[in-house]
C-alpha cells in the first residue's frame, strides 16, 4: 500500500513537471493557434541558463528561475514580433514548418554554445527529502511541483484579472473584433508568445535539477506538452493542470503496474490519449472543441 502511495506521489511530482512544460504550450496554441514545435527547445534554453548560473556563479537552481523567465520572455517576444507574426494568418501548416525550423536553429545554437556534452544541476540538498514512514518525497521534486502550481496560478491571474489578460483572451476569441475595439494585435501576439516562452524557461530550470540535459533533450517535452494539452483540453489553465497531473500519474502507474515494464508506460499513456480523443474530443476540461 505504501508502495502504491509512493508511486502516486511520484506520478504527481512528474505531472507537475508536465504542467510546467505544457502551460506555455497550451497558451500559445489556444490563443495564437500555433502548435509551437520549438517549445521543447525553449525549455532547454531555460535548462542551460540555470545550469550556467549554477556552475559559474553557484546560484541555486530555484533562485535562477526568475532569470530563466525574464530571458525567455525577451527571446519569446522577439521571436514572435520579428519572425512568427509575419506568418500568423497563414494556414496551420506554415506555422508548423516555421516553428520546426526555429526548433532546429535553437538546438544548433545550443550545440554551438554549450556543445553536446551531457549536463545536469546537482545542488547539495538534492538528496534530502520529506520522510513519511517508508514514503520519500524529495524536496527538489516537491519544489518543482510547487513552482508548477504557482505558474498555473500566475497564468490564471494574468488572464482573468488583468487588462493584458483580457486583451490576450479577446485576441484568442476573435482577432478582428479585438482589433476593432483597440487591442494592439502585434503586441498582444508577441506578449502571449513571450509568456509561453517564459513559462517554458522556468520548466527547463526545474528539469535540469533531476534530468540530464543536452541540446536535443527538449524534443520529447514538445511531444509531452502536446499530449497533456490533448488530454486536458484547450482554453483553460485548469485543463492544463488536470491534463499534466493525469498524464504524469498514468505514466508512473502504468510502469509500476505488476507485470508491465516501463516500456509500456508511453504506450499506456498514449492509449489513454486516444481513448480521450474518441470519447471526449475536447479533453477532460477543455472549453474549445
Amino acid at each position: 500500500m505504501s508502495q502504491f502511495t509512493q508511486q502516486v506521489i511520484l506520478g504527481l511530482l512528474l505531472g507537475g513537471v508536465y504542467v510546467a512544460v505544457a502551460l506555455g504550450f497550451s497558451l500559445v496554441w489556444g490563443i495564437l493557434n500555433i502548435v509551437n514545435l520549438a517549445h521543447g527547445a525553449l525549455v532547454m534554453v531555460g535548462s542551460y541558463i540555470t545550469w550556467d548560473l549554477f556552475t559559474r556563479l553557484h546560484i541555486d537552481p530555484f533562485l535562477s528561475l526568475p532569470v530563466d523567465a525574464t530571458m525567455l520572455f525577451v527571446i519569446g517576444y522577439a521571436l514572435q514580433r520579428g519572425v512568427i507574426n509575419r506568418l500568423i494568418r497563414a494556414p496551420l501548416l506554415f506555422t508548423f514548418l516555421l516553428t520546426f525550423g526555429i526548433n532546429l536553429v535553437i538546438v544548433s545554437l545550443l550545440l554551438l554554445i554549450f556543445t553536446a556534452n551531457v549536463r545536469s544541476v546537482t545542488p547539495s540538498y538534492s538528496g534530502s527529502g520529506l520522510l513519511l514512514g517508508s514514503i520519500v518525497i524529495p524536496y527538489i521534486r516537491l519544489g518543482g511541483l510547487v513552482v508548477a502550481m504557482a505558474l498555473a496560478g500566475i497564468l490564471w491571474l494574468i488572464l482573468n484579472r488583468t487588462r493584458t489578460g483580457a486583451a490576450i483572451l479577446a485576441v484568442g476569441a476573435d482577432r478582428d473584433a479585438a482589433q476593432l475595439v483597440g487591442v494592439d494585435l502585434r503586441h498582444t501576439y508577441a506578449l502571449t508568445f513571450a509568456i509561453g516562452a517564459a513559462f517554458a524557461g522556468v520548466a527547463g530550470g526545474i528539469i535540469s535539477t533531476f534530468q540530464s540535459i543536452t541540446p536535443t533533450a527538449g524534443d520529447p517535452y514538445t511531444l509531452q506538452a502536446f499530449a497533456v494539452v490533448i488530454l486536458g483540453g484547450l482554453g483553460r489553465v485548469s485543463a492544463t493542470v488536470a491534463g499534466g497531473l493525469a498524464f504524469g500519474l498514468i505514466e508512473v502507474l502504468g510502469q509500476s503496474a505488476p507485470g508491465l515494464g516501463s516500456g509500456y508506460a508511453n504506450a499506456i499513456a498514449f492509449v489513454v490519449l486516444v481513448v480521450v480523443l474518441v470519447v471526449r474530443p475536447r479533453g477532460l476540461l477543455g472549453r474549445l472543441a
Binding site: 511520484l10 553536446a116 545536469s120 546537482t122 540530464s212 510502469q255 509500476s256 515494464g261
Partner: protein, 410 residues
C-alpha cells in the same frame, strides 16, 4: 615502382621499420589515396558519442598521414576519411554508407556509433562487399547474422557487466542480490540478459529486473520499485543520460546499495561534472581505460596515446574508451591492408579475418563471427572524482572502495 623479387622483402622491411617508429622508411613513392567512409552522428541524441568516435578516427588519421600513409608493396598510400552525419538515425546511417560507397568511392567503411546504426550499416557493407570495421556496436545480434564483411574490435555486449560481477564476488562481505535496470534497446537488453544468466554462477541472484524506454523522461518510479527489493547491487544497462538520472533518483529516493554499476556513462568526464561528489563509488565496465597495461606491437603505447589525444584536442581529460576503440578500428584496417598488401576488398576482408595483433587497446583478433571475443573488459570506479581501474588486478591501478556509504552519510 619497383616490382622485382625484392618487393615483398622490402615491403616487410618497411613494415618493420614503420613498426619501430622510424620516420625514415625506404619507401618514397606515393600511391593513390585510400578513402575510408564513416557515417558518424554529429547531431541528434548521440552527437556526443559520435564526436568521440570521430576523435578516435582522426587521431589515427593524423598519425598515419604524418608517416605518409599505409604502405602497400613499398608504396605509401595517403589516407582520407570522408564523414557523413547520420543525425543519430540508424536508417539514415545505412543510406549514407551506400552514398559513401557509390558517390564518394570509399574503399572501406569505418563503423558508426551505436549498435542500431552498426546493424543497418552492416547490411550495406555486406551487400556491396566492402569491409567495415566498427568500434561502437557491441550487440552480438549484429554478428549472429553470418555477415562476412563486418568486424568489431570491441568486446561483445554480453561481457559489459559480467566483469563487475566477477569483481563483486571477490569483495567482503560478498554482495548477493542484484537489481537490474535496462533500457529497452537491443544492446542494453543483451547486457542485462548476460548479467541475469551469469549471476547464479557467482552465487548472486536477481531480485528486481525491469526495462525502461530509452531516454525515459523520469526514472524515479523505477528506482522506487527497485528500492522495495533492497538490493546489494544496483546495475543499469543503458546510456549516459539515463545513468545520470538513475544516480540522481537513487539519491533523492534514498536507495542505498553497496555497489552502483552502470554499463555506459561513468567513464565519460560528463558523468563526474554533472553529478559532482555523487559520482563517487560508481563502478562501470569499460572497454578500455587510460591506465591499462598492454604492450602494443605497433602504433602508440597507452601513455603516448593519452598524450597524443590531450595534445590534439587540447584536453586535460584523458580519452575515454569510445575514442580508444574507434582508433583501434583504424589500426585493424591498417594492419589488415598491410598484411593483404592490396586494396582489394576481398583480400582485405580475408586479412581482417585472420588478423591477430596487440595494440594499446588490447588484443585485436576476431572470432568466426567477426567480433573480438579475445579482449577482456576492465572494471573502473570513480574515487574522489577520479577514475581508477580496479579489476582485473593485473591491469589495475587501484583497489575497489566497498561498500558505497549510504547517501545520508556521505
Amino acid at each position: 615502382m619497383r616490382r622485382g623479387r625484392l618487393g615483398p622483402v622490402l615491403a616487410a622491411l618497411a613494415v618493420t621499420l614503420a613498426a619501430c617508429g622510424s620516420s625514415t622508411g625506404t619507401t618514397t613513392t606515393t600511391g593513390s589515396t585510400i578513402v575510408f567512409g564513416a557515417a558518424v552522428s554529429s547531431t541528434g541524441a548521440q552527437s556526443l558519442e559520435g564526436k568521440l568516435t570521430k576523435q578516435g578516427y582522426d587521431l589515427w588519421l593524423d598519425w598515419i598521414n604524418q608517416r605518409g600513409g599505409i604502405v602497400i608493396n613499398n608504396v605509401k598510400h595517403p589516407v582520407q576519411i570522408k564523414y557523413e552525419d547520420d543525425q543519430s538515425n540508424a536508417n539514415l546511417s545505412a543510406t549514407l554508407v551506400q552514398k559513401l560507397i557509390t558517390d564518394e568511392k570509399a574503399n572501406f567503411i569505418l563503423g558508426p556509433y551505436g549498435s542500431a546504426a552498426t546493424a543497418t550499416d552492416a547490411i550495406i557493407a555486406e551487400k556491396n562487399g566492402i569491409p567495415m570495421v566498427e568500434a561502437n556496436g557491441a550487440a552480438q545480434a549484429i554478428f549472429n547474422k553470418g555477415y562476412k564483411y563486418t568486424f568489431g574490435v570491441l568486446s561483445p555486449a554480453n561481457k559489459y557487466l559480467t566483469g563487475v560481477l566477477d569483481m563483486a564476488a571477490t569483495l567482503s562481505p560478498k554482495p548477493t542480490t542484484i537489481a537490474m535496470l535496462s533500457a529497452n534497446d537491443n544492446f542494453s537488453l543483451e547486457v542485462a540478459k548476460a548479467v541475469e544468466d551469469y549471476a547464479p554462477s557467482v552465487g548472486m541472484r536477481i531480485v528486481f529486473s525491469k526495462p525502461y524506454p530509452a531516454a525515459a523522461p523520469d526514472v524515479s518510479s523505477l528506482i522506487s520499485q527497485a528500492k522495495q527489493a533492497n538490493p546489494d547491487i544496483v546495475m543499469n544497462s543503458g546510456h549516459l543520460a539515463e545513468a545520470i538520472a538513475i544516480n540522481k533518483a537513487a539519491k533523492q529516493l534514498g536507495l542505498n546499495a553497496k555497489i552502483f554499476a552502470y554499463s555506459v556513462g561513468p567513464s565519460t568526464p560528463d558523468f563526474i561534472s554533472a553529478l559532482g561528489a555523487d559520482a563517487n563509488y560508481v563502478i562501470d565496465g569499460s572497454q578500455w581505460t587510460p591506465q591499462v597495461k598492454y604492450t602494443p606491437s605497433f602504433y602508440l603505447s597507452v601513455a603516448d596515446y593519452v598524450k597524443a589525444y590531450k595534445q590534439k584536442y587540447n584536453s586535460t581529460d584523458p580519452p575515454d574508451y569510445h575514442v580508444a576503440e574507434s582508433t583501434a578500428a583504424c589500426l585493424a584496417f591498417q594492419k589488415a591492408i598491410e598484411n593483404a598488401a592490396s586494396l582489394d576488398a576481398t583480400k582485405v576482408r580475408d586479412a581482417l579475418a585472420s588478423l591477430d595483433v596487440m595494440t594499446f587497446f588490447g588484443q585485436i583478433k576476431f572470432d568466426s563471427r567477426g567480433i573480438n571475443t579475445f579482449k577482456p573488459m576492465v572494471v573502473e570506479q570513480i574515487q574522489s572524482g577520479t577514475h581508477y581501474t580496479v579489476f582485473p588486478a593485473n591491469v589495475a591501478n587501484g583497489s575497489p572502495k566497498y561498500p558505497a556509504p549510504a547517501w545520508s552519510s556521505r
